[in-house]
């Protein structure tokens, strides 16, 4: 799981690393190398030219001092240092590519600078000796006759030197050389000897200075700088080409990253949609499952109840039959006994009149005469009561005649029940309100059984009323929500204790033991209502009243009605 989750991350991080690498490679220090070196090259070339110019000016005697030459040379060295620094600042490849040309350039610079130093030294000597001739020509110190012969020699020398200075040609060299050699061998005065020495100095140094000058001018620094510049150019072209490649790679890597991210995003969206769908499905399944479970539980409860009822029914019908037989005997016997006592009374009356007071069961006959009759009546009444209970039990256990499924109106059943109970109603309340909805859809089932339900419920309501001022409302209506016809009986009676609400429909649960309640009325109602695919609902506020709602499935489902009836 963790591995799967970390994989996209490692891909993204890897791509980012790649991007960074390409970015660095495409913007390396080598790319700006050419621009940075350009300035140094310009300065280098400028100072190189200045240096050559100053050397020429020095040679021509037009520069007052060597300061500017020395300063330019120093600046030039700094240019070289800058170039060296720049060429060492690039990548390893750049340093390798430029190290050879920069060293060649440095060598050329060093050679040129060394030449210039030598040129300066020699030029100083040359100038000194030329100045000497200047002074010697202006103020010859010796005027002795002995020297007069030499004056012409010196004149020749001066002329030769003049020629030599103006045009130091090879053939004039020989003349001057020969002249100097000859003069140097003569016994000369100090002044003339100095002239010859300086002449020799000029003769030696001038060609040397000019040679140095030519060499300085021809010094290949510019060529080396050009080579170096070409190397920089070539290298920076290579670097640029390489950077171009890396820029392309950068672009492609960015594309790949983008593509990957888009792909991941799309996958994520799809996953989210899929997840949402699965979740909904799961919720639906759970709901369905819960509903099924609830239905199962209900069915189970119903099954248990049905089983219980069936067992109870079988037991009750067995017991009822067993009770009914001896009860019939009691009833029959009591009728016989009644007639027998009526006959016996006549005899006993006559016997009393003739024989006086007699006792029955150790009680005086006069008292017993009415008492026995009452006893027999009581027995008969008790037997009748037993018979009624047994009938109720039979009804509870096996409700009604089978297979009768007529279509009828609920309102008809209600009105019949009200007629039957008219006396009781009148006795218990002065405020009966009926609110029967017209045009109810017909229902299917046993009308008598429904009538019995209405009677039971109505009787309960009436019995709950403490006085006649309390009202009862009977309503019927059609419940659109579950497609059922509804009977609602609302009383303003004493109400039902909350703890009793759950047990109202249990068989033999009664709060009216004293007034002869059997605890079977509502149990029968529920049994009958179920037989009509209906149900009972109670809603009560103790002291204020109770509302009983009976719902019947209207029409349409005769099959289930049959099934229920069969069960």
């Amino acid at each position: 799981m963790i591995r799967e989750a970390s994989r996209p991350w490692s891909i993204v991080v890897g791509l980012l690393f790649l991007l960074t690498y390409f970015f660095i490679q495409s913007r390396g220090p080598d790319l700006t190398l050419r621009a940075r070196m350009q300035e140094a090259f310009q300065s280098f070339a400028l100072h190189d030219a200045e240096l050559t110019r100053d050397v020429l000016l020095v040679r021509a005697g037009l520069l007052p001092s060597y300061d500017s030459l020395a300063a330019t040379s120093r600046d030039w060295s700094q240019d070289l240092e800058a170039l060296r620094r720049e060429s060492a600042s690039g990548s390893r490849e750049a340093v390798a590519a430029l190290s050879e040309p920069i060293e060649a350039l440095a060598g050329a610079v060093q050679r040129k600078q060394a030449l210039i130093e030598h040129f300066k030294s020699d030029n100083a000597l040359l100038r000194n000796s030329l100045i000497y001739f200047d002074r010697a020509g202006q103020a010859p110190r010796s005027r002795s006759d002995r020297d007069n012969a030499l004056i012409s020699e010196i004149g020749v020398l001066s002329r030769a030197m003049m020629r030599f200075v103006v045009a130091p040609e090879p053939n004039s060299n020989i003349d001057v050389q020969a002249l100097l050699d000859r003069l140097s061998k003569l016994p000369l005065s100090q002044d003339f000897r100095d002239s010859v020495v300086h002449g020799q100095m000029v003769f030696q140094v001038l060609p040397e200075v000019d040679r140095q000058l030519r060499e300085i001018i021809a010094a290949p620094t510019a060529a080396h700088a050009h080579t170096m510049q070409n190397a920089v150019l070539q290298y920076s072209r290579q670097a640029e080409a390489r950077a171009q490649v890396f820029r392309l790679l950068l672009y492609f890597a960015a594309l790949i990253l983008l593509g990957y991210l888009v792909c991941q995003f799309v996958r994520l969206r799809l996953n989210a949609v899929e997840l949402h769908r699965t979740n909904e499905e799961l919720n639906r399944e759970i709901t369905q499952h819960n509903r099924l479970q609830e239905a199962n539980r209900q069915q189970e409860l119903q099954l248990i109840q049905a089983n219980k009822m069936t067992a109870l029914g079988i037991l009750v019908s067995g017991v009822a039959h067993e009770i009914n037989n001896p009860n019939q005997l009691v009833l029959t016997n009591s009728r016989v006994l009644t007639k027998a006592w009526e006959d016996a009374v006549k005899i006993l009356d006559r016997y009393q009149r003739e024989d006086g007071e007699l006792t029955l069961a150790r009680l005086p006959y006069s008292e017993m005469r009415e008492t026995v009759a009452a006893l027999i009546r009581d027995v008969k009444a008790g037997a009748l009561r037993i018979g009624r209970i047994v009938d109720d039990l039979k009804n509870f256990a096996r409700p009604g005649p089978r297979g009768v499924a007529d279509a009828f109106q609920l309102n008809d059943a209600v009105q019949r029940a009200m007629r039957l109970l008219a006396h009781l109603i009148n006795q218990r309340t002065a405020k009966l309100r009926t609110n029967l909805a017209p045009h109810l859809p017909p229902m299917r089932g046993n009308a008598q059984q429904v009538e019995q339900i209405v009677i039971n419920v109505l009787v309960n309501a009436l019995e709950a009323l403490p006085d006649r001022d309390r009202a009862i409302t009977i309503s019927t209506y059609f419940a659109v929500g579950d497609g059922s016809v509804v009977l609602e009986v609302r009383d303003e009676g004493i109400g039902i204790a909350p703890q009793h609400l759950q047990r109202l429909c249990d068989p033999f649960f009664t709060t009216k033991q004293e007034t002869g309640g059997t605890g079977l009325g509502l149990a029968i109602c529920l049994s009958l209502a179920r037989a009509h695919k209906g149900c009972l609902e109670f809603d009560s506020a103790p002291g204020k009243g109770t509302r009983v709602v009976v719902k019947f499935q209207c029409l349409d489902e005769p099959a289930s009605l049959h099934a229920e009836a069969t069960a």
């Binding site: 021509a60 005697g61 037009l62 520069l63 007052p64 001092s65 060597y66 300061d67 030459l69 020395a70 300063a71 040379s73 120093r74 060295s77 060394a114 130093e117 030598h118 300066k120 030294s121 030029n123 100083a124 000597l125 100038r127 000194n128 000796s129 030329l130 100045i131 000497y132 001739f133 200047d134 002074r135 010697a136 020509g137 202006q138 010859p140 007069n148 012969a149 004056i151 012409s152 020699e153 010196i154 004149g155 020749v156 020398l157 001066s158 002329r159 030197m161 003049m162 020629r163 200075v165 100090q190 100095d194 020495v197 300086h198 100095m201």
Partner: protein, 339 residues
């Protein structure tokens, strides 16, 4: 000129005339050149711009004996500013190990020299300061040792932080020293005032000395702002230098030690003549104790001339006008040279 045909009789006179003519022609050439160019010597600037905070650190470092390993001498030991910026003794150990002991050049106006040391082995003040610090013959210290000493001093740490925004580092120490050394200029010498137009700043004798200085060729080497310090020259062009038996230790090959080029044997930097009267003795080996000796030696060896005492006197008078002012006072003239 070659096409002239002359008789033998008139030859001498003609030759003399021609010599005169040639001399005049050369003179005209040099005059024409001289007329077109300004004076070969430029005056020192009256002020110089340096970072005062850095220079003041440099001044303290310059006088700080902790710069030497033995904590016994400072830069100022060899370059006492009150004594012309150079100890008046002929020779001291130089920064470069290869060279025999040499005269100590003055530290004044050192910023206007293009080459440092007698052999020009070094050409920046920073490099020179480092060479002196690390030389076993001079300060004999090491950077870790020196920086540790300086960093232990809270004053230095604070001042460097203020002046450089950085702690005490090699580069900053060298820069501070160099900044101070650049600030050591001696402007306003009488000769500089003369160059700036004060014609009566020099006496006629001194002016004549300057003319001799130029016309006898001294100017060929001693030119520029620092009157030297910007080129090299062989010591002993027309004559070999006299051997100095009592002082000879090893033959000083000069710039050859740096370049290893044969013609650089016995070649030395042409020194600055600024404050020359205050910086005796003279030459790379301090062989000349007085200016008169130095001028005479130079004339013979370098210029191939013999000067009269009078000419030497004029030139020496001129050289005395090159003494500039430091802190508003002329540098004191050295009167005696100690070994």
């Amino acid at each position: 000129m070659r096409k002239h045909s002359v008789t033998d009789a008139s030859r001498h006179y003609l030759a003399a005339g021609l010599a005169l003519y040639a001399g005049v022609a050369l003179a005209i050439l040099s005059r024409v050149a001289a007329a077109q160019v300004p004076e070969p010597i430029a005056p020192l600037p009256l002020t110089i711009v340096v970072d005062s905070a850095r220079a003041s650190i440099g001044e303290r470092l310059f006088h700080d004996v902790r710069l030497a390993r033995d904590n016994a001498h400072s830069c100022a030991t060899c370059h006492p500013l009150a004594q012309g910026g150079a100890q008046p003794r002929p020779r001291a150990s130089a920064a470069s190990d290869t060279a025999p002991p040499r005269d100590i050049p003055t530290i004044f106006n050192v910023g206007f020299n293009f080459f440092l040391n007698w052999d020009g082995a070094i050409d920046t003040l920073e490099a020179h300061a480092e060479a002196v610090l690390l030389s076993p013959n001079v300060m004999n210290t090491t950077w870790p040792e020196l920086l540790a000493k300086l960093r232990a001093d809270s004053d230095y740490v604070g001042d460097f932080r203020a002046a450089y925004g950085q702690p005490v580092t090699r580069d900053n120490v060298l820069d501070a020293l160099a900044s101070f050394e650049r600030s050591l200029i001696t402007p306003n010498s009488r000769f500089d005032r003369y160059l700036r137009g004060e014609r009566d700043a020099l006496t006629p004798a001194e002016q004549q000395g300057y003319q001799l200085f130029k016309s006898y060729g001294c100017i060929a080497c001693h030119q520029g702002t620092n009157i030297g310090g910007n080129l090299f020259q062989k010591f002993g062009v027309f004559e070999a230098p006299d051997a100095l038996p009592p002082l000879t230790r090893a033959i000083d090959l000069g710039r050859y030690e740096v370049t290893r080029v044969p013609r650089d044997r016995a070649v030395f930097r042409v020194p600055s003549l600024r404050n020359v009267a205050a910086t005796a003795p003279y030459f790379h080996d301090g062989r000349a104790a007085t200016l008169e000796v130095a001028v005479d030696t130079m004339a013979r060896m370098q210029l191939g001339r013999r000067l009269t005492e009078g000419e030497i006197g004029f030139i020496v008078r001129f050289l005395h006008t090159l003494t500039g002012e430091w802190h508003g006072k002329p540098l004191p003239v050295v009167t005696s040279v100690t070994e």
